[in-house]
């Protein structure tokens, strides 16, 4: 169904653009008490102003969105789309109840928050960043196009990011809670597992390239030994900053003794 063919709407395409634009500042007033609530209200404010011209109802709707809300920032667009539609239907008297809107916000926020964290923060960002890093490691010595690396990373990463936002907002507005089916079909788990596999291969490739290019003779043992030690120490919750200091201490001691 196209947006223009949906009848009797108060929210027009222009309002959806505004929602999309404002959605970037979802976490601008992030607080420990109710997390993204103020950001959510800020995003929805123009729409609420439009569909509730009378003061009483508008205050009520503002208060409703002052409640706790937290989700992954990219998937917030889906929830925004759904909530905008539900608010609109409630204002038009189509039998939507306020409690229903709050319940949808909570359940959708929780579910999409989990997907977003494991898809974007734990997989897609490390993966695209790794691609950029490996490009630099392999080509830096003889490559004039090094400045291209950050744009390549941004383009790769934001392709999926903006796709999620735009699709989420539009489909959320059109299909309401049925949108969950669409996101189930998109098989994020497959993206995650294949990114992991390719990422692992890229790490090993970079390791081999560095090893062959930079290290010769006895010293090459240090490189591999330190890599393995760092892998296992990091598994035991040794953070990278501690590993860095450990590395400095070990190397200084060695230099002192030689």
């Amino acid at each position: 169904m196209k947006l223009d063919q949906m009848d009797n709407r108060i929210i027009k395409s222009f309002d959806l653009y505004r929602l999309f634009w404002r959605a970037f500042s979802l976490q601008a007033v992030w607080n420990f008490e109710r997390m993204q609530n103020l950001g959510f209200l800020y995003i929805l404010a123009p729409v609420l102003n439009k569909i509730y011209p009378e003061r009483e109802k508008r205050v009520e709707s503002y208060r409703r969105h002052l409640e706790f809300f937290n989700t992954h920032p990219y998937f917030a667009d889906v929830v925004i789309g759904i909530v905008a539609r539900l608010e609109e239907e409630m204002a038009m008297g189509k039998g939507v109840k306020p409690e229903q809107i709050t319940a949808v916000k909570m359940s959708m926020g929780g579910a999409f928050g989990g997907i977003g964290d494991s898809l974007f923060w734990a997989t897609w960002r490390p993966f695209t960043a790794l691609v950029a890093c490996v490009l630099v490691i392999i080509y830096l010595k003889k490559w004039e196009g090094a400045w291209l690396v950050p744009p390549i990373f941004l383009f790769l990463y934001n392709f999926l990011h903006f796709h999620t936002r735009v699709k989420g907002l539009l489909e959320g507005y059109k299909k309401k809670t049925k949108v969950v089916r669409l996101f189930k079909k998109m098989e994020y788990s497959r993206t995650i597992s294949s990114s992991r596999l390719v990422g692992l291969g890229l790490v090993l490739l970079a390791l081999i390239v560095l090893f062959l290019r930079e290290w010769k003779g006895m010293q090459s043992v240090y490189f591999l030994a330190f890599f393995l030690a760092a892998v296992f120490l990091n598994r035991w919750r040794f953070s990278s900053i501690r590993l860095l200091y450990l590395l400095i201490v070990i190397s200084s001691v060695r230099a002192y003794m030689v």
């Binding site: 970037f24 500042s25 976490q27 601008a28 992030w30 607080n31 420990f32 008490e33 609530n37 103020l38 950001g39 209200l41 800020y42 404010a45 205050v59 503002y62 002052l66 990219y74 923060w121 734990a122 960002r125 490390p126 960043a129 790794l130 950029a132 890093c133 630099v136 830096l140 400045w147 690396v149 950050p150 990373f153 990463y157 934001n158 990011h161 992991r196 990422g199 692992l200 790490v203 970079a206 390791l207 240090y222 490189f223 591999l224 330190f226 890599f227 760092a230 892998v231 990091n234 598994r235 990278s240 900053i241 590993l243 860095l244 590395l247 400095i248 190397s251 200084s252 230099a255 002192y256």
Partner: protein, 220 residues
């Protein structure tokens, strides 16, 4: 020099917004922010190297749910700026370029944790805005939500800007002096450490993508 420090801090404040307050289009990641600073200060390649090293080292630091992780952006901005601004004055002897980078890196890394504690304070104080808005709504002041939003964005920017300014200023002033005091044996050790640094970064990256059989799912 002052102009360069100020402009680098300004960029630091701007990309700092991207960490969580506005956007998350990932210009805040070290792989983008460090080369950006390097480009601004006329040394893109150094910025890119710093960016790659930091990106690899901070790869498995992520925020899950409501947790606030240490901040990688401030480290990238401070480290890239200090190196780009002072390296030429110090490395008359090119042999110790790596040692100097290592010193700067080692002393800027803790900034991430310090910045985090300031960030947590700000987010606790942000709760006052909720109550302020509640009162304003009773008076029928609907525009307050916009004001609160822009003001809070400004506070986030100001925090990043001031923090970068202090870090870069102190770094540019003190680190070359500190470096010239170091004995030769330590410098040699630091040089070796710098050459081993990619192994550390790749180890972290390896752990980010490797899922050991007994763990089942991603450890964060």
């Amino acid at each position: 020099m002052i102009g360069e420090v100020l402009s680098a801090s300004f960029i630091g404040g701007l990309v700092g917004l991207d960490v969580s307050a506005w956007g998350q289009i990932m210009v805040s990641r070290p792989i983008v922010s460090a080369p950006l600073i390097g480009f601004l200060l006329g040394d893109l390649k150094t910025g890119l190297i710093v960016g790659v090293l930091l990106e690899l080292m901070w790869m498995n630091v992520i925020s899950v749910g409501a947790a606030i992780p240490p901040d990688a952006t401030i480290v990238a901005v401070a480290c890239a700026s200090v190196i780009a601004l002072t390296e030429k004055s110090i490395a008359s002897d090119n042999n110790f370029q790596g040692s100097y980078r290592m010193v700067v890196l080692a002393l800027t890394m803790p900034l991430g944790e310090i910045f985090r504690s300031v960030d947590v304070k700000q987010r606790k104080l942000n709760a006052h805005f909720v109550h302020y808005l509640d009162r304003e709504l009773s008076k029928g002041n609907f525009g307050a939500i916009e004001k609160v939003n822009y003001f809070s964005l400004f506070l986030f920017f100001a925090k990043g800007f001031l923090f970068s300014l202090i870090a870069i200023g102190l770094g540019v002033y003190f680190l070359p002096k500190l470096f010239s005091c170091l004995p030769n044996s330590i410098l040699l050790g630091l040089d070796l450490a710098y050459r081993l640094l990619p192994a550390l970064g790749l180890a972290i990256a390896f752990n980010t993508f490797m899922v050991f059989p007994y763990e089942g799912k991603v450890k964060v």
